[in-house]
């Protein structure tokens, strides 16, 4: 139905509409009169529906349609007219209450059920268009009451929908509406709707439940009485009814969790939330997978359920030939606790034990029993994923449940669908704070390290970072498997190292006893020094050093070369190797962990102080201002290096101040008054500064996240200044009036745009450049370019720069290319003219929406450069604020004689039209703006990472 509107907004410019308006309704009238048969009329109506209608001509069109409606004998045409009425009443700017009466009138005389349903639909549309009119709502509800008893399911459906969308939320329907005739209106909406829970048509039953849910969504509190009815609907024959009923039961369980309901066929009573939990659990083994997915999903949000019921969901009593059997999970646990960890490889070690009391076995589980066991084994992966997610949600709120569901999640690591495996690894990570892995569980987890999918392995590394283990054997096992992983997939190096870093720092006491073994030291004999470049050795060292950080006695076990290697690694892999308190050595930085928090605070204070100090520089040519800025910039840069928490903020400030400094320098030149031709050199310097400021402002705007409107305004302000400067320069260098004229116009547009965009921020810009400009704006608009330039020149020189206010946290987008490393001496050989694929692996931090903004640039030695847009699927999101780009870049070139290096780097593309200050735009909003935006779109790229050199050698093709 919305097709028509989209069409209008996309294709038809507003002007054209206005021209065709007067003839619109008339044309329709003529067409309809001309129609000789219903088919013809239908054709005309269909054509008409494709064209848009202006808001003020809607009413006329409606009248014509209605007039025709009364005359029309063919029900299909009436149906179309009815649907058109609904569409028309959605026209923006048209208030449909004037046609309600007409539509209700037509209802009374209509015989065709289909048309009735359509008319009610139209009323629904009208009703939702005018939600505030209480009177109209009552009337519509009355109409709905009257038609509820229709024999056609469609009419009943629509009536129920009307109830759901328009039924009074606050109170039962008032008495006076009884005048409407049926007497039913006196009942409240909920009981009317619930009467239709037992309708003979499943579609009507579904509609009734949906209407009820709609009421709930609109804020009406559903009554508890319908709980029993809803529960009965859970065993309906039709899946859409069951699916809606599951939702309904869930809603009620959230509304009345604590009320008490009786268990049928017994005297006991339980909490409603437990009862409904049991019932929804039951639906996890429904015949329809749609219902199963829904039930599994909803289970996750039922956190108020009693732990007893919750734990039942993982319960499955095994039995073999009527003998009780323990599950593999139980066996594993027992083996473990008995101290003998075997893989249970003996024949018949799962042999059934004691005989089961046949009367006690309950094969159909009442309630929650084994719901997740079923869900996790389901045929459809959608159900399995939903079950895994629900497990996660429930486990996060209940540590004891987390402990219990561990085995099941670990089992899911072996699912046949990768998505499910990945999801269960993620889930395990999320609940890993609650749990400690047993050795046999860890063993199963680690087996996945050999998976060929990189995503799975990295997710597992991430999981291991957060995992608690219980014994030193576990650490050994983990290390062993990680090293195996490293040899099998050398590209996982960084990830493995990071994983060991966390593993070490989490379990220092478990690492301590195995240090000699790990470093292969011997109390009496010197052992050969291991190879420092071996990634496996580095991995072991990372583990040991991180453990040693909080275990000072460990260093005593190190041999000499270990210390040497420590020094080396501390330097080369500082992010993986922590500073250690080594005997006989001074620590480089005295206050370590203890003073961390306070040092951040003091750094923050320092940052604030420096900024306020800078603000005292009101006048650009104040003495010492330049040097103060220079010092501050230097301080801030250093601060950013020292305090990683503040790096983004400090960097941002430094860059901002740098822009100010450049402007200051450019303007302070005493040479401005001197005749132009003599000072070409200065001109070049100034224009260079202006260009640089411009570039920096784009970096400021697009490279940093966490900016608020105020900071963006400041950035735009600086940009405006730079542009003004450019304009002045242009005026001084070029003689031609034409280019100057257009440049001036453009500049004024930009000032205007600035004002429009940052209306709310303007008060903060008092006495600034833009403030002064806006004061004299009317005068500017009329003045000649030469005058404008003069004004600009003076304003630039005599305005102070606005104070920079900082938001909570600014983060700088950064990227690092991990692969290729740029170290390889072996050129990548390929036949010229053909392509070669280069694997690129990079991490991105704090990049918003990288799928659209991040690009890869390849720069060839001859100056050719290619920008490649990676596929959206190449970006993965391992954690908040972080992205991983793993892609292939295709290189190609004509033949070279020698192997040569190319540069590969990442770029951040920006375009000023997507500037954050404009807010998100919907796709078609853009095209409705008649004239092109005032601010012409500027697109560009900012280098995001350091370039990496790759040796390549395109060989000439052999003939």
């Amino acid at each position: 139905s919305s097709y028509k509107y989209k069409f209008r907004l996309e294709k038809v410019p507003a002007k054209k509409l206005r021209l065709t308006k007067p003839s619109k309704s008339a044309a329709l009238h003529v067409d309809l009169c001309k129609a000789s048969s219903p088919t013809d009329a239908l054709q005309y109506l269909l054509q008409f529906a494709r064209k848009p209608v202006e808001a003020d001509s809607v009413e006329g069109v409606v009248r014509i349609l209605l007039e025709h409606y009364y005359k029309e004998t063919d029900s299909s045409v009436r149906l179309k007219i009815a649907s058109l009425l609904g569409l028309l009443s959605k026209t923006q700017g048209f208030t449909p209450d004037c046609i309600v009466d007409d539509v209700i009138n037509t209802l009374n005389s209509e015989r065709s059920h289909q048309v009735l349903a359509q008319l009610l639909d139209t009323l629904l549309v009208i009703g939702t268009q005018v939600p505030e009119s209480l009177n109209m709502r009552h009337r519509l509800i009355d109409v709905a009451c009257k038609h509820l008893t229709d024999t056609y399911f469609g009419v009943r459906n629509k009536c129920l929908q009307l109830f759901g969308c328009l039924g009074s939320v606050d109170k039962p329907l008032p008495r006076e509406s009884e005048g409407g005739g049926t007497g039913m209106a006196a009942k409240d909406v909920q009981s009317i709707i619930s009467d239709y829970f037992g309708d003979q048509d499943p579609r009507v039953r579904t509609a009734a439940i949906k209407a009820m849910l709609q009421l709930h969504e609109r804020g009406m509190k559903l009554q508890q009485i319908i709980y029993n009815q809803a529960c009965k609907l859970l065993s309906d024959d039709y899946e859409q009814v069951r699916s809606a009923a599951v939702q309904m039961v869930w809603v009620l369980s959230q509304l009345y969790p604590e009320s008490i309901v009786p268990i049928p066929s017994s005297n006991e009573k339980i909490r409603l939330v437990d009862d409904s939990f049991g019932k929804i659990c039951h639906m996890v083994s429904d015949g329809s997978w749609v219902v199963r997915v829904q039930a599994a999903k909803l289970l996750g949000s039922m956190q108020q359920v009693s732990p007893h019921f919750l734990e039942q969901t993982l319960d499955k009593k095994l039995m073999s030939d009527l003998r009780r059997k323990r599950t593999a999970h139980e066996r594993a646990k027992e083996l473990y606790s008995s101290g003998e960890f075997s893989s249970g490889r003996k024949w018949a070690d799962d042999a059934p034990k004691e005989k089961v009391d046949t009367t006690a076995v309950n094969l159909i589980d009442s309630g929650a029993c084994g719901a997740f066991v079923h869900g996790l084994e389901d045929e459809m992966y959608e159900v399995r994923i939903a079950a895994v997610e629900a497990l996660c949600a429930l486990a996060q709120s209940s540590p004891s449940f987390a402990e219990k569901c561990l085995d099941f999640l670990v089992d899911m690591f072996n699912d046949e669908i990768e998505e499910v495996r990945l999801q269960s690894i993620h889930v395990l990570r999320q609940i890993s704070t609650h749990i400690t892995l047993r050795e046999d569980q860890l063993d199963t987890v680690l087996a996945v390290l050999e998976d060929s999918s990189r995503d799975i392995r990295e997710a597992l590394h991430e999981l291991l970072c957060y995992t608690n283990v219980s014994t030193k054997e576990c650490i050994q096992l983990a290390l062993l498997e990680l090293l195996k992983n490293l040899t099998k997939y050398p590209t996982d190096r960084n990830s493995v190292w990071k994983c060991l870093k966390f593993l070490g720092s989490r379990h220092p006491t478990l690492v301590l006893p195995i240090v000699p073994e790990l470093l292969s030291t011997h109390p009496y004999f010197d052992t050969p020094e291991p190879d420092m470049d071996d990634p496996a050795y580095i991995a072991v060292l990372v583990l040991v050093f991180n453990a040693a950080k909080s275990c000072p006695t460990m260093t005593a076990l190190f041999s000499d070369h270990t210390f040497r290697h420590y020094a080396y690694l501390r330097d080369s892999l500082s992010h993986l190797v922590p500073p250690l308190r080594l005997p006989g050595r001074k620590l480089t930085s005295a206050p370590e962990a203890s003073g961390l928090a306070s040092s951040v605070e003091s750094a923050q204070n320092f940052l604030k102080e420096s900024l306020t100090r800078v603000c005292s520089v009101q006048q650009l040519d104040a003495p010492g201002a330049q040097s103060l800025l220079e010092f501050t910039i230097r301080d801030l840069q250093r601060l950013g290096e020292l305090q990683t928490e503040l790096a983004g903020t400090a960097d941002f400030c430094a860059t901002y101040l740098h822009c100010q400094l450049l402007l200051m320098k450019a303007l302070q030149d005493k040479l401005w008054s001197v005749a132009v031709p003599l000072y070409l050199k200065q001109n070049a310097m100034v224009s260079g500064a202006a260009a640089q400021v411009l570039e920096e402002t784009y970096k400021l705007e697009f490279l940093y996240s966490g900016l608020e409107s105020r900071q963006i305004a400041s950035i735009h302000h600086v940009r405006l200044q730079a542009k003004a400067l450019q304009l002045v320069l242009l005026a001084r260098t070029r003689r031609g009036v034409e280019p100057l004229l257009s440049a001036c116009e453009k500049f004024l547009h930009e000032v205007d745009a600035f004002q429009r965009l940052f209306v709310t921020e303007l008060p903060h810009f008092q006495d600034s450049f833009v403030d002064k400009l806006l004061d004299i704006m009317p005068r500017l608009a009329g003045s000649k370019p030469a005058d404008l330039v003069k004004i600009l020149q003076t304003t630039l020189r005599h305005s102070c720069f606005p104070q920079l206010k900082l938001p909570e946290q600014i983060r700088r987008a950064t990227a690092a290319i991990i692969e290729p490393t740029g170290e390889s001496d072996n050129p990548l050989r390929f036949t010229s003219g053909l392509v070669v694929a280069l694997d690129v692996d990079a991490t991105l931090e704090h990049v918003q929406d990288p799928q659209t903004t991040v690009k890869v640039q390849v720069l060839y030695p001859d100056g050719q450069s290619h920008v490649i847009q990676p596929k959206p699927a190449d970006f993965r999101k391992p954690g908040p604020g972080r992205h991983r780009l793993i892609t292939q870049v295709y290189l190609s070139h004509s033949a070279w004689t020698e192997p040569c290096q190319i540069d590969v780097k990442l770029l951040l593309a920006y375009s000023s039209s997507t500037s954050r200050s404009l807010g998100p735009r919907s796709a078609w909003n853009e095209s409705t703006e008649g004239p092109t935006p005032l601010e012409s779109t500027i697109e560009g790229t900012i280098p995001l990472s350091k370039p990496v050199k790759v040796f390549i050698m395109p060989k000439p093709a052999r003939r």
């Binding site: 003979q200 083994s285 039995m319 490889r345 018949a348 046949t358 089992d411 087996a447 998976d451 099998k488």
Partner: protein, 599 residues
């Protein structure tokens, strides 16, 4: 009373030679026609003489339905159709139709060529038999004749396994064949809609077992294989050719793929290659994963699994070999086992139960020294593992299916009597109103049914009746209506009396009741009449009561007349006359007047 009769010829309280006869609505259907693996004599096949002593079966059976290709469900088919004689339709699903003859041929070869039996069906007979097969699609309703229809549902278990619903009118039977309620690596789970059959005939192989999650078993299996291969050992997996073998292949294949393993996997060929071909073709019958990914790659086109050659067994280095037969009693699997048994690095994994007396059984019971033919002993050093992969529903699964189908009765077949008893009790205990049967072979179970009889109602009559009552028919409240039931040429129609008269060309006869009521009323006749008139007028509000000039009172169509009695002028006789349509009102009036008139 209509009834359904079910008689198992095989599989009654037993596993093997499934063959169940069903009589429903005058139709006779044979469900499955299998052989028994435990016997080599006549007991091998079902006793068809139960149906007829001599002559062909064609005239006694309306159709034969085969649930899946396992020999205990289809092994006796050529014997029945070609040697006993049956020419009617045989229904089975497409994959079953494709794979069944391969297995039958293999069965024939072993029996005739190896064991040297005579009087067995020939290859030609298998071919002729297969010509009588009509293929079925899932959820397709097939009309066997005008009244009998059958419909197949997915059953898991093996490729092409189906459950069938047999329906005559409103009576229906569901036969499950073998089914699996938990999905595995290549097949989905059985599914049926709420078809509410009169009787559900279910297999009950695992009636007393509740199984652990499949995943643990799979993981164990993979871990064992992986560890052995990493150690450089060889793994022997004896399998039966079809069904489980494919599942294990997929399991290993995907694991190899996932873990990037390089050790070779071999499959000792035979009929497997042909069967694998069919597995590739019938993708729609497999599970979600295989169905969704086959466009990129058909999972049954194994990358890592290659055909085995006898000479490979001596190759150095790790390898995994699937070899037939499954119980290590002969053939290739035994040969390979003999070669590898001496090395403790190697491993044999038994993926199913083994019959007593086979090498497999000895191994599983822990024997370390095996006596081979020729008085040699074989020392077993390799590791022996046991891994159960079974594709039958366990007790919970059976209950789940019953819950899904909501039958009125359940019959258990294909299982051991003792186990069935437990499940029978459970079913009757946990489902209210479902009775459960477990007949032995040859024992007939009769289930009375209560079929609804469809009647065509004339639209006019329906509309007329609907006009009286409320606007909507309430499905919960029965309503009475007047009409005439016409039974003609086995069709039932409900029409209005007028129409019935017209159709049957009968004259309408008026039936009137008259009755005299004596009243003590000391007035003149006319006065009494008007008193009666006034009295009725006051009592019967909403009825038309008329005082006619000819000295009668009419209430609707009821006529009242008053005359004095000859003996006593004070005793008035009121004559009432009404037609039978107004019986209610008439008898009401007569009893009213008997009470006398108010003063």
């Amino acid at each position: 009373m209509p009834e359904i009769k079910v008689t198992p010829l095989g599989a009654g309280q037993d596993v093997g030679r499934s063959c169940i006869l069903v009589s429903i609505g005058g139709k006779n259907i044979m469900l499955d026609c299998g052989m028994h693996m435990g016997y080599n004599d006549d007991r091998r096949f079902p006793d068809f003489s139960y149906i007829t002593q001599n002559g062909r079966l064609t005239e006694f059976l309306d159709c034969v339905i085969i649930s899946h290709f396992h020999l205990d469900h289809c092994g006796a088919l050529p014997y029945m159709s070609e040697m006993v004689g049956y020419d009617g339709p045989i229904y089975m699903t497409h994959p079953t139709k494709a794979i069944c003859p391969i297995l039958l041929e293999d069965f024939r070869k072993i029996t005739v060529d190896k064991k040297g039996e005579t009087n067995f069906f020939t290859s030609q007979m298998i071919k002729d038999c297969m010509k009588k097969v009509v293929p079925l699609n899932l959820h397709q309703t097939v009309q066997v004749d005008d009244e009998l229809e059958i419909k197949a549902y997915y059953a898991g278990h093996v490729l092409g396994a189906a459950m069938v619903q047999i329906k005559v009118g409103s009576e229906s039977v569901v036969y499950t064949g073998d089914y699996n309620m938990t999905p595995d690596r290549h097949l989905g789970a059985a599914w049926i809609d709420k078809c509410r059959p009169d009787i559900l005939i279910s297999e009950s192989t695992y009636a007393t077992t509740i199984r652990d999650s499949k995943r643990c078993r799979e993981r164990d299996f993979l871990k064992k294989v992986h560890e052995t291969v990493e150690r450089g050992g060889k793994v022997l997996i004896p399998v039966f050719a079809l069904g489980r073998a494919q599942e294990l292949c997929i399991l290993l294949e995907t694991f190899w793929e996932r873990m990037n393993l390089k050790a070779p996997i071999y499959f000792s060929t035979g009929l497997t290659e042909k069967a694998n071909h069919y597995y590739k073709l019938f993708i729609t019958w497999t599970n979600q994963k295989i169905r969704k990914t086959f466009v990129q790659r058909n999972m049954f086109e194994f990358k890592h699994i290659k055909a085995f050659d006898r000479s490979y067994a001596d190759n150095p280095g790790p390898m995994v070999v699937f070899a037939t037969p499954g119980m290590l009693h002969a053939g290739q699997s035994l040969q390979i086992f003999k070669k590898w048994a001496g090395n403790e690095k190697n491993m044999v994994i038994m993926p199913g139960y083994c019959v007593q007396g086979t090498v497999g059984h000895k191994l599983l019971s822990g024997q370390k020294k095996l006596e081979m033919e020729g008085r040699t002993t074989l020392e077993v050093k390799l590791q022996v593992e046991y891994m159960s992969f079974s594709a039958h529903a366990d007790a919970k699964g059976i209950m789940q299916l019953i819950r899904m189908a909501e039958p009125r009765n359940v019959m258990l077949v294909h299982g051991e009597a003792k186990k069935m008893e437990f499940l029978k009790d459970k079913i009757e205990q946990e489902f209210t109103g479902i009775s459960c049967f477990m007949p032995a072979n040859g024992e007939t179970t009769t289930i009375p049914t209560n079929p609804s009889v469809p009647v065509d109602i004339s639209l006019n009559l329906l509309k007329r009746e609907a006009a009286f009552g409320g606007p909507l028919p309430d499905p919960k409240k029965p309503r009475t209506m007047h009409g005439t039931l016409i039974m003609k040429d086995s069709s039932l129609r409900l029409v209005s009396p007028e129409q019935a008269l017209k159709e049957l060309d009968l004259n309408e006869h008026q039936l009137r009741f008259t009755c005299r009521v004596q009243l003590q009323d000391p007035y003149s006749d006319t006065d009494t009449l008007s008193r009666v008139y006034n009295h009725l007028k006051s009592v019967l509000k909403g009825y038309t009561v008329q005082h006619l000039p000819d000295g009668t009172v009419m209430v609707e169509s009821i006529v009242l007349k008053v005359s004095s009695s000859a003996e006593d002028p004070n005793t008035k006789v009121v004559l009432l006359s009404w037609s039978y349509q107004d019986e209610d009102l008439g008898s009401f009036l007569s009893s009213l007047l008997r009470k006398g008139l108010p003063p």
